[in-house]
Symmetry: C2
Amino acid sequence: MPTLRIALAQDNPVVGDLDHNADLIRRAASAAAAAGAHLLATGEQALTGYPVEDLALRHSFVEASRERLVRLAAELAEDGNGALPVAVGYLDADGAPPATGDSPASRGLRNALALIQDGKVLFRYYKRHLPNYGVFDEDRYYTAGHELHLARIGGVDVAFTICEDIWQEGEPFAVAAEAGAGLVVNVNASPYEQGKQERRTAIVKERAAQVGAPVAYLNIVGGQDELVFDGGSMIAAPDGRMLASARRFGPELLIADLDLEAARGGDVANHSSRSMSTALHRLSDAPAPLETRIEPSHAPDLDRLEEIWEALRLGLGDYVRKNGFASVIFGLSGGIDSALTAVLARDAIGADNVHVVAMPSRYSSSHSLDDAADLAERCGLHYSVEAIQPIVDSFVSEIAISGLAVENLQARVRGTLLMALSNQHGHLVLAPGNKSEYAVGYSTIYGDAVGGFAPIKDVLKTLVYELATWRNAKARSLGETEPIPENTILKPPSAELRPDQKDSDSLPDYEILDGILTGYVDGDAGREDLVAQGYPADVVDRVAGLVDRAEYKRRQSAPGTKITVKSFGRDRRLPITNRFRGK
Amino acid sequence: MPTLRIALAQDNPVVGDLDHNADLIRRAASAAAAAGAHLLATGEQALTGYPVEDLALRHSFVEASRERLVRLAAELAEDGNGALPVAVGYLDADGAPPATGDSPASRGLRNALALIQDGKVLFRYYKRHLPNYGVFDEDRYYTAGHELHLARIGGVDVAFTICEDIWQEGEPFAVAAEAGAGLVVNVNASPYEQGKQERRTAIVKERAAQVGAPVAYLNIVGGQDELVFDGGSMIAAPDGRMLASARRFGPELLIADLDLEAARGGDVANHSSRSMSTALHRLSDAPAPLETRIEPSHAPDLDRLEEIWEALRLGLGDYVRKNGFASVIFGLSGGIDSALTAVLARDAIGADNVHVVAMPSRYSSSHSLDDAADLAERCGLHYSVEAIQPIVDSFVSEIAISGLAVENLQARVRGTLLMALSNQHGHLVLAPGNKSEYAVGYSTIYGDAVGGFAPIKDVLKTLVYELATWRNAKARSLGETEPIPENTILKPPSAELRPDQKDSDSLPDYEILDGILTGYVDGDAGREDLVAQGYPADVVDRVAGLVDRAEYKRRQSAPGTKITVKSFGRDRRLPITNRFRGK
């Protein structure tokens, strides 16, 4: 039984930065070659970043990707790593160049993987299954491939597949099984959702059993706008054993020695009942040399709240860094949302890069300012206080307004102050709103919703409390100061925009609100389903009405890391102009 | 040769308002029956509105659509119009109800058309071709149909198709031809783009020639978020003659008497080489009675600027009305953009519903205030003046800012004032920015970009001038006062946020800027293409850099009617986090 040393580069590419991404691949190849690996795989579209969205429709970008791949092949050889076969994910096209008015389909765009060796591209595999649901729009761009490629490496036939390919029972895994693959590599750009790693693990084991050979599942890592790629690469055996696994939410070069079935000999057969043909590329027939064996590494599982925290931290940090910012600024109210945002920001980019501003009005309670100052000190943040009342008064003396208009005005004066400080000092403004309040429109557009990124936009209020409690407990367990003041967690939430205001004046208890939102926003539950679950009909109607009316506001709010529990995890694309109220 | 009297209901449905849309269909049926029509067709998804986006994924909405269709059939019979065959566009599903985690495909969602007669649904046709480019995402929702239905009405076999079906040369039109259709009805929800009506006319004539029978092309009308459906329904003969046509941008019941080939007799044949089968439904074999003939109506062509104006007017008016607003408010600077917005708003919803506010700062020139007041008086708008300097000063005395931060602050104070007035009085705020400035980021987010709808967001600055000149000329030709002061058109554009500021300090001449934007934003032109077109390389680089950096700001701006020249007309979906600069 031949043994192959496989290396999986769980890296953090940047969309559009071909040179940076190529450098990551070169570094991984040097490390893999130094470790004596026989094959290196990189993530789905690791050369271009994922998803490139409509950049795929720009001819110059497609050409840049194709050319960079060829140059990378030469560079790997120049680096002295030419002998190592490297599978590189990238963007390709094999149709005619676009003419004006052409449909994208005519360009033959491909979500592709190339195997590189000795400065040359040996073959190009095109993704067989194109996901077009949830956050995925691949039918909009790509043409599916119908040829499975196997590389005979050290006497083992290795098949290559991309992401969605593994979620299908038929082609290409069934074809890999028929072709006698000794290993199937599946490269991914799979975004984080709650509970997804368990589903991935189950499907990787299922496919390994189906093929009768190990499956090496590689995922990228890093934040990209609203998505977070969470790593967690793994190799599973056909009997369900986990042979190796990489950590979540960080880069790693996962290396494992795998005992694999030798190739059958002869060429692989093509089955007429399949839409996919197969092609075999003989790189080396003899078993690869291996002096000593490497002990495979296994990453620990994360508990639910740590997993969510890490997703939020990585999403925020990468949004800041990849967009060229060094620091952030936002309002610190003394409440739980901005407190959690502050600790996340500190964990993501460091206390010295976090600027917080307390902006009390006449309705702010004294404990608010105390709690804000307390948190800033515990976390070591840059803290300042700006009074907004004189500015609010100058507005009110110019125009006759009252009630809600004045409440919102206070939030907008704060947003304008933060944007002025952002313009002056170059900080990125963060919007500290949570998912519960954005969902029902309980926030002020152009006010507290101001910001380039909303770190906890996808976190329901009840989860905000869970995370705050968890983060404090983690600090205690490490012997550190609890970052969030106890009073911030215990006091009843309030927007403090009018005297003695409480969230509970306007909204149901958050336990009930979040339960309804989980069914109505994340799920497909209609009014009757929610009433059947035990929620009072009048509360369901009120919340559904608020959600329906808040759609415009949600569209205008900043991006934030998705951590939804929904399988097809992203905000629904709903018409703004829409009168359907019977849902 | 039998003659059929065909009625096409070019109506303005509201997304999600099933009862309203059903009422439109009932009224059209009453009018068509009273006129002695033998067949009435309604638009694509006329019962649900189009596009319903992710409402299609909500099970309760799908059920509501299916049930409303059945009820509509009963209502048409109760109205005494049961004998009239009515083709109704709606949303259907014939898959299993969704389970948690199901892919949308398993639900078997259908973009459907039902033929109703005598209180019953005679058949359901499912759209064969699902567009998935530009503004269309139909692969995300729908499953394609593979059965063509023909109804024998008055001895003529009439085939039914939906929208994208007509843009394909093969099925279903080739099948209709083989089946001997005497008329093909094609119902649409086709959004306006510049030059599209000419392309539609050409394809309708091409298909009529292919089938050897007239093609009745029906489009809906009305604004829906960023889309405007522009009507322009038509019936073309196989020899290329236009038999009848409806107006653009308004509802119409188009009725025409068509001399059609009698059905071949016998059943229609199914061709094994096709993926589509055919089904024939015999409603009436004998030629339909017709006492006198109706003179068909022909709508005049619109010139380019009138067409654009009407698209903007309808898009703005429907956005306001369909979202439940009665009035609008925005800042009037004395410049060309807010002047054009004011005239559009007046034309769309009436002068008495338009509130404009002049908000001079210390950098506003005296002519700006004069020009604003002049325009408000010419148009009969509600006009007020609010000084912003004291408010700006109150900010500057609180925080130390300078330069660009102060420039933006002025715009944000104006935005906050408008939002306060909106909250107080219930007006929808309009953002008067044009496409050139949004594209390069020459606007202030949370400042002049504040608003629920941006009426000229998709109008390049050079086109703003053309439209202003055209609208004044139209007023002259009608003997009315020119709405826009000459000085507003003639003076050099300025943001007036610092002393003697001019747009030309920061941007290339608008002729050059707009030329580059047309290639780079609407088109697929890269740097080299634009330089080859004669634009200076340094200007191309500068503009491309500005566009790339403005992506986030564009995403945060309000919707506005699309009037792009691009075939696949909508903003590109680009990653915010994206480092590709070589385009």
